[in-house]
């Protein structure tokens, strides 16, 4: 049955992509990058569609939810000229062939695993999938608030519920393919972003290094699939990529999409709301420094939906998040928190050597770090700091909480960390890369 969510989600992603091409969304970006981010847009649009229906009192159902998509697809078909997708013409060397095979094997393995078992991770069935099931059965959002007493963002649950409506029943095995796509599309964004900066082989190498991270694989298709952390990691990756491009190009059109992606991140998880707030602060600082006061209007794109969600939650009468019901700041925890959080950076089982490599590259780059990268690094640092603060104030056993959540928290940042590492280290590799391939080419001749 996973064929249905697979084909519907891919078809709708393609529709979004064609639409992005049609109205020239993300100017200056490659088609592959646009396609890579279109799954995040699909996620945002579907979540918003269900949320909007709920607000205006339209009932959720297979027909009512799919009809706008059919009209949208049909109108694109009628009005669009033939869409030409531009891709790089690559010369497949021996190394790139091996890397391509490795990537393919990894992706197929994760895809197969994702639909092999029903949802089995605690957070998934106790939160995300439970709410999706409730939305499908109740056909509304509000009953969920009174039953679960949870004020968590509901983007993931609405997204899954949409596919329950498409399927016509609750099927918590086949919808896991949607989480596999967060894995695939993260890889696509990393590949397409880096391909603009690095040669084919190096880009494939970094993409493979990302896709083969054990923690990413577990969330993409094995026992931890169905959780929202990889989805947030993918959202943050898209925001980071656009933020990087915006700082470099200062293109106003990118700014609007950056804000849209940031809003979507806040609709995935609580940590996404914190992240989106941090983006606003840094963006405000950047616009202020650049004296781009006219562009401050863009914050409206973030403020309206974020404030709207908070007002809706108040209307639903949910309690505040349990994190804020504690006794206050416990400074005595800080050494333990730092120790536990640092230890995860060298958890090779989860991350191979991603984090030591990342920190080493940042250290090596020193003052040569480009401006755009320094903004991203600050963003990632502040996000990690926000996790520290949560552990300092949490009312529950903080050591146990660190133990069960830390690998997931780092998963939010891992795709972006790898991307930034590749951006910084690329020039270092390029010299030896060109020397190697010059030899290869001369040998072949």
């Amino acid at each position: 049955m996973f064929i249905i969510p697979l084909s519907v989600s891919l078809s709708l992603t393609c529709l979004i992509f064609v639409f992005m091409k049609r109205i020239s969304v993300l100017p200056g970006q490659t088609d592959l990058f646009k396609f890579g981010t279109s799954y995040l847009l699909l996620f945002g649009v579907i979540s918003f569609q269900l949320f909007l229906y709920s607000l205006i009192g339209l009932s959720w159902g297979t027909v009512s939810l799919l009809t706008p998509w059919l009209i949208f697809g049909f109108s694109l078909l009628v009005t669009s000229k033939r869409v030409q997708v531009q891709l790089y013409k690559e010369r497949v060397s021996r190394i790139s062939f091996v890397l391509l095979v490795l990537i393919l094997v990894t992706v197929l393995f994760v895809g197969f695993e994702s639909v092999l078992r029903p949802v089995s991770s605690w957070d998934s069935w106790s939160n995300w999938m439970l709410k999706a099931k409730m939305f499908f059965i109740d056909g509304a959002i509000l009953p969920m608030f009174s039953y679960t007493r949870s004020d968590y963002p509901i983007g993931i649950s609405l997204f899954v519920a949409f596919f329950y409506f498409v399927l016509g029943r609750v099927d918590d095995t086949s919808v896991l393919i949607l989480f596999f796509f967060f894995y695939v599309f993260s890889g696509l964004v990393i590949y397409s972003f880096l391909r603009k900066l690095l040669p084919f082989e190096l880009t494939l190498c970094f993409t493979f290094l990302f896709l083969s991270l054990q923690n990413v694989i577990r969330h993409g298709g094995r026992y931890e699939t169905g959780m929202a952390d990889l989805a947030l990691g993918y959202g943050i990756l898209c925001v980071v990529s656009l933020f990087y491009h915006y700082i470099n190009t200062k293109d106003r059109a990118l700014l609007i999409y950056l804000e849209i992606f940031t809003v979507i991140c806040g609709f995935i998880k609580y940590e996404g709301i914190v992240f989106s707030l941090l983006v606003q602060i840094l963006l405000f600082y950047f616009l202020f420094r650049e004296r781009k006061f006219k562009e401050l209007f863009v914050f409206v794109v973030w403020v309206i939906p974020t404030a709207g969600w908070y007002m809706y939650k108040m209307y639903g009468g949910v309690q505040q998040h349990y994190i804020f019901s504690g006794t206050g700041i416990q400074f005595s925890r800080i050494p333990v928190i730092i120790s536990r959080m640092s230890r995860e950076f060298v958890n090779f089982k989860n991350w191979n050597v991603l984090w030591p490599s990342f920190f080493l590259v940042v250290f090596l780059s020193g003052r040569k770090i480009p401006r755009a990268v320094s903004y991203i690094l600050l963003l990632l640092f502040l996000q990690i700091l926000s996790y520290c603060i949560v552990f300092v104030v949490t009312p529950v056993d903080f050591e146990a909480q660190i133990f069960v959540t830390i690998d997931r928290l780092y998963l939010h940042l891992a795709p972006s960390a790898l991307l930034i590492m590749a951006v910084l280290v690329g020039p270092m590799f390029l010299k030896s890369y060109h020397a190697y391939f010059r030899d290869e080419i001369s040998k072949n001749h």
Partner: protein, 168 residues
């Protein structure tokens, strides 16, 4: 002096660059071997999953807990109000997921149960007792309930486990 400082700085940089290259080689090696290892799991671990039915997969993942929710699901109305005396959080949360749209209220011991029964209206009282580690947070085997259950089920992997449903 300045020259010496610059030299030692560049040596340090060379050292760290070398270290980074070693890390990348190690990373590639790990990624490659783990890819092969993952792929081998298709034969060693996953082949046994492919042949299982959906129910068998769920039993394999959740063990006795899936038998609990299946049994309660079969013996209660879909929109019933259930008071669940549960041996721990996992039993309650999994039941909440699988048994929805049944409304489940969670109690942790017989005292809480009596208070809840006095205050609220429930269609069923469900009691699950087990000695399984990881599920038995509240020493459920020590609970004494004098009433006679309407339905009892004890065909679990855990020999001490028993599920009782009382109609209200």
């Amino acid at each position: 002096m300045n020259n010496k400082y610059t030299k030692s700085k560049s040596r340090l940089k060379q050292l760290f660059t070398g270290l980074f290259l070693v890390l990348i080689v190690v990373w590639l090696f790990l990624a490659f071997t783990r890819t092969l290892y993952n792929f081998s799991k298709l034969y060693t671990e996953e082949a046994s999953w492919v042949v299982l039915s959906d129910t068998d997969k769920r039993v394999r993942i959740f063990g006795d807990l899936y038998r609990v929710v299946s049994y309660v699901s079969a013996h209660t109305h879909p929109h019933a109000n259930l008071l669940f005396l549960s041996p721990g959080g996992k039993t309650y949360y999994l039941s909440r997921y699988y048994l929805y749209p049944r409304n489940i209220t969670y109690v942790r011991n017989p005292t809480e149960m009596r208070v809840a029964l006095a205050k609220g209206t429930y269609n069923y009282l469900v009691v699950f007792q087990t000695s399984e580690r990881g599920l038995n947070e509240y020493d459920s085997l020590s609970w004494k309930i004098d009433w006679v259950p309407d339905v009892t089920f004890n065909n679990f992997d855990n020999k001490d486990a028993v599920l009782k449903i009382y109609n209200r």
